[in-house]
Symmetry: C2
């Protein structure tokens, strides 16, 4: 006959665990000796080890009781389920290992590889990290708000970077972020952007596209705010002129 700590040691659990199983009715309370100590049979050890085997495998205690009293057929089916679940958890942990390894590596965790590639393309072009981060944030918001639009946008962006003219403008905008809003170079840049917008509006049918791209991230830069304001004004004028003609 075993004391509770001997039983617990046999199954590799704590005394508290055994008492817990009594409390929830999973392991029957054994007889007591003269002084009220619980006194266990070898069968209790067998039962406890079977319980632990299932509990270790992640079966909730509440299910174990029913399981151990089930018919062999149901039991076998349940075992198969549990095994499948275990394998699933193993795969999951393996996946988590992969992700953990990427934790140090910036945006790889948050964005799909195609977008990460675009961000890296921007870095390769020499665009500043601050601007790249704004771009990253824009992608994150887009994915949360309108995931449907992401694939098309990926194509557009890549097309833009495939075009040297557009790329040059992009770089120019990036450098302009710290300029004074009244810097004379800004006027030349605005002219270029306006011309770019006119030609690309014709191509793609989308209007105000450039303004949209810049506006969401222009809060931090007075120069960009001026760009947006002037471009908006000019587009307005063009529409009025067309209307009058």
């Amino acid at each position: 006959m075993l004391t509770i700590s001997q039983l617990a040691a046999t199954a590799g659990v704590t005394v508290r665990t055994v008492r817990h199983y009594h409390h929830v009715g999973l392991l029957p309370e054994p007889d007591r000796d003269a002084s009220g100590y619980r006194s266990y049979s070898a069968q209790a050890a067998v039962d406890l080890i079977r319980i632990r085997t299932l509990a270790d495998a992640g079966v909730p205690l509440a299910r174990i009781d029913a399981l151990l009293h089930a018919q062999p057929t149901e039991f076998a089916a349940a075992i198969t389920d549990i095994d499948v679940e275990l394998q699933r958890r193993i795969d999951q942990l393996t996946e988590y290992r992969r992700r953990i390894a990427e934790l140090a590596g910036g945006e790889r965790l948050v964005l799909p590889p195609e977008v990460v590639a675009i961000l890296n393309r921007m870095r390769d072009l020499g665009i500043g990290e601050r601007r790249v981060r704004l771009e990253r944030d824009a992608w994150i918001l887009m994915r949360a708000l309108d995931p449907h639009a992401v694939p098309q946008r990926i194509r557009d962006k890549n097309a833009a970077f495939d075009d040297p003219g557009t790329t040059r403008l992009y770089l120019a905008c990036d450098r302009a972020v710290d300029w004074d809003p009244h810097d004379p170079r800004l006027d030349r840049l605005i002219d270029d952007l306006d011309a770019w917008e006119i030609s690309h509006e014709r191509d793609s049918g989308r209007s105000g596209y450039l303004k949209l791209v810049i506006s969401r991230i222009s809060e931090a830069s007075p120069a960009w705010q001026r760009i947006v304001a002037v471009l908006t004004h000019r587009a307005e004028q063009r529409r009025t002129a067309e209307h009058n003609s």
Copy 2:
């Protein structure tokens, strides 16, 4: 800007989880909009995903905060630790899969292979399942109470089964379990056991060995109880006789 459910969906968690992280101070409370709704930036999505990546890997929430604000060196060391721990859990789950598969298979889970082999040897000899179970329980108790003695006992048992005479006696005992205590065949068996005990006492230097083996499991059988009683009595007489001579 994102609402709480959009943010939660982006990271694949529930709204409740995000609020929980605010509550424990893991994720900073964002600004509110005019109606008191939380309004999240893209950076919050990045933070949340990083938190989940660590939490999924089993890092307690309480540690995550410190971890994300740690120096790159410490951070890298912690990541290595976490990865090691993940691998350990994967190995553990794999082991649990193995054990689960053995759940249907009786005592394999509870006893070391050498003992299982002995039990199977008993079955092969034609010893009844009831007796085998009693033997199994004896082994379990022995392992719990005096694990040190197990290896020697394994050798003894195997030696006993290697000896045809002993094996025959074992089988005879097994069949006697259901006999009436006054069955005349029992007297012949007792004589044989007594002779066996005398000769083996000389060999091994252990005395009362047989009685010890049987006594613990004789509760269920009146015939065995009589065997133990008679053998004890005779051994007593022998000791008295030796003393007087």
